[in-house]
């Protein structure tokens, strides 16, 4: 009988120990988290970020404890230099955010976790004594460009464009060519038409005028900007637009190819069920790209939409990053 009592005590003890470990651990775990916001990342189909809005104050650290419940995600805050945090399924990673300027910041997933990856976004509302900085509206709004309208290039080069050759005509060019505004607000095709109409340049053949346009585009960017645009494109755009810009990225391969210049507002709206269900346009197609001004391309990146599945990048990229992207896009056709 003594053995039986001892045996029962052992059973109760063992199970009690297991439950105790669990309960104490549970409490300790909870206490640790009072100053920490725990966010679970899930594919948008499974619920997205478990928390999608965070209230904070300037210069007050935000402690985050992040994990993924399904696949690898990434956590990054748009328009900030917080490094991207990789979220491995089942593993916790801690990070601290600090904002010195008030405003609304967007955090987003940086990994192509699924077809709705880009919907994984949340906002951090940072309050502070300073007034939130007001940025001027983007150029496409100032200029009143309709980014949903078709923008077919009326002319395209017949031969490869050489900015190098274009540089030799720099002295003969009219003054407006050197204004940044000209570059930003006009498409390569319209700059070409304008230069073609210049009587001073009548001696130049069509190809040379294109070389001049290429040179203008090159002058308005820098190798570092193109390099930065290239890596931004690879990280954020290539999954849909394709690595070479042909609109055949892995995320859209099952979608139909869009009809030529189907950016028709009315069309895409009347058939809203097909909105977002075509591949993006071929960015290597000169007809398409040479008809777009940098301001127009920037607008498309900022606002997204256009009746396709294009996400809006305005809250995520800084204006420098968008400029870099736009200048990189033009390298697809030069």
């Amino acid at each position: 009988m003594k053995k039986e009592v001892f045996a029962r005590i052992l059973i109760v003890l063992f199970i009690g120990m297991v439950i105790l470990i669990f309960v104490l651990g549970w409490q300790k775990n909870r206490n640790q988290q009072t100053n920490t916001i725990q966010i679970h990342a899930r594919m948008p189909e499974n619920g997205g970020w478990s928390i999608t809005s965070i209230a904070a104050e300037t210069n007050q650290p935000i402690n985050l404890r992040l994990t993924s419940d399904d696949v690898v995600h990434g956590f990054a805050v748009g328009k900030s230099d917080q490094p991207t945090v990789e979220l491995i399924p089942g593993e916790f990673v801690e990070t601290t955010l600090l904002f010195d300027e008030p405003g609304t910041y967007t955090y987003y997933c940086t990994r192509w976790c699924g077809p709705n990856h880009w919907r994984m976004r949340g906002t951090i509302e940072v309050q502070g004594e300073m007034a939130a900085a007001t940025n001027p509206p983007p150029l496409y709004l100032q200029l009143g460009i309709d980014i949903d309208a078709p923008h077919e290039a009326k002319v395209t080069p017949r031969e490869p464009v050489s900015p190098q050759k274009g540089a030799s005509f720099a002295e003969d060019l009219p003054a407006y060519v050197f204004e940044q505004e000209t570059y930003l607000a006009n498409s390569p095709a319209s700059v070409w038409s304008r230069l073609r109409a210049e009587p001073d340049l009548s001696a130049l053949n069509d190809g040379d005028i294109w070389n001049v346009v290429g040179w203008i585009w090159r002058e308005n960017t820098s190798p570092t900007a193109i390099k930065s645009g290239e890596s931004l494109y690879a990280e954020n755009c290539a999954a849909c637009h394709g690595e070479t810009g042909e609109g055949d990225g892995v995320m859209v391969r099952d979608l139909p190819i869009p009809e030529a210049e189907a950016h028709d507002m009315y069309d895409s709206h009347s058939e809203s069920s097909t909105a977002g269900l075509t591949r993006p346009h071929d960015l290597t197609d000169p007809d398409h790209l040479l008809g777009a001004s940098p301001a127009l391309l920037a607008g498309k990146i900022i606002r997204g939409g256009m009746g396709t599945g294009m996400p809006y990048w305005g809250p995520i990229f800084t204006s420098q990053q968008i400029d870099a992207l736009v200048s990189y896009l033009h390298t697809f056709v030069w």
Partner: protein, 441 residues
Amino acid sequence: MNRIDLTRFPTINLLLRSRWPQFLIRAITLAGFVFTILAGLFGPVVGSHNFAIIFVWIAWWSALKLFFIPFGGRSWCSICPIPMPGEWMQQRGVFSPTGKGFGLGKRWPKKLRGNWLQAGGFLLIGLFGAVTLTSAKVTAIILFSIIALAFILSLIFERRSFCNYLCPIGGFTGLYAQASPVEVRVKEKQICAEHSEKTCYTACPWGQYPLALKSSADCGLCMECLRVCPSDNIMVNLRPWGSDLGQKAKHNLGDVFLGLVMLASVLVDSAVFLGTWGQLKSAAYEVGSLPWLIFAGVFLIISLGVLPGLYSAAIWGAVRVGSAKTTFRKTLSKYGQVLVPLGLMSWIAFTVSFAFVKFSYVLPVISDPFGWGWNLIGMSGTASIGQSTSWSGWIQILLLVIGLFWSSKVTQQISESKKQALPIVAFSGLFTVSMLWLLIG
């Protein structure tokens, strides 16, 4: 008879005879069971980081097939915690019986005897396997339901009715224990015949009478008979592998069905978990959806139609060739033992293909069982998928070939002629080739 009686060694005898070592291990496995349920319910939702998933489906499930069964037959049953709470009630003692316990002590209904329900349970595991194996919560709920069911049944029925007739793992282990190198037998039959009290039968939680034991399938190696025998007439033998198989083996249709279900399960599991067919994986996972219904239908057709059909065709061939007067039904049962080595080696090969690759997940989940960022043994966050080495493939081929060779040998032993054995060997060969294709590609 080339047996080694382990009870002749004083230390082993002491370890087997004393209730303490077994009790302590079972007390620990019971606590581990509770812990696994808690971890499954409250731990991380990511399978590779959840103690319940990794411990049950990687560590335990692999150990069962690579270690417990091939080297100890039903040795897992001897330390399984599941019948413990029920037996505590039945015997009024968790350590040893202390008098009349609770429970109605009814006999298990005759119609429900045999391996049929166990085989059905195993089919259910297969149908819902993709979810069970990946969802920690489902795993925890199943574990809890099993122990609750075992407890309730032991209050209604006598002895280990749950283990004997329902537990799918009991069916699995029992089937392949026939090939294992361990057995409990009586030393002198005469002594038993003269002993009128049958203390061993009364004490046996499995309802077995050691004198009548011909196969290790139904003996749970609990050692109770060894402990209560007044004449010290029980031995625990090490024996050659596959000793229960052969001319003398008793078999029934339930065994054949169980054996075929196990073959179908290892085929389907290999296709779902090791195959490269993404659609099959998602179909198996989306329980209730149309693709899942198709998957379930195909699974059931393979296990209840195709495999039994092929097996029956082989038996039909064997009956036609044979000279002795025998019925188709009897032959069907007789050749059931061929499925034992064939299935066992296939399950081991299947396990080898993932156990070493996935083993690296085990230590990290011990280190952080609830996913709260603990680091108990300094191994958290070290999980990485191991590399499938080339020798793993060779081992799998070797295991499958051994399985084919072994089952062919058994076939020949119980056949009248080589000609009669041929259709059955062809069936085994076809199955082995299918496994080779699924595992090695």
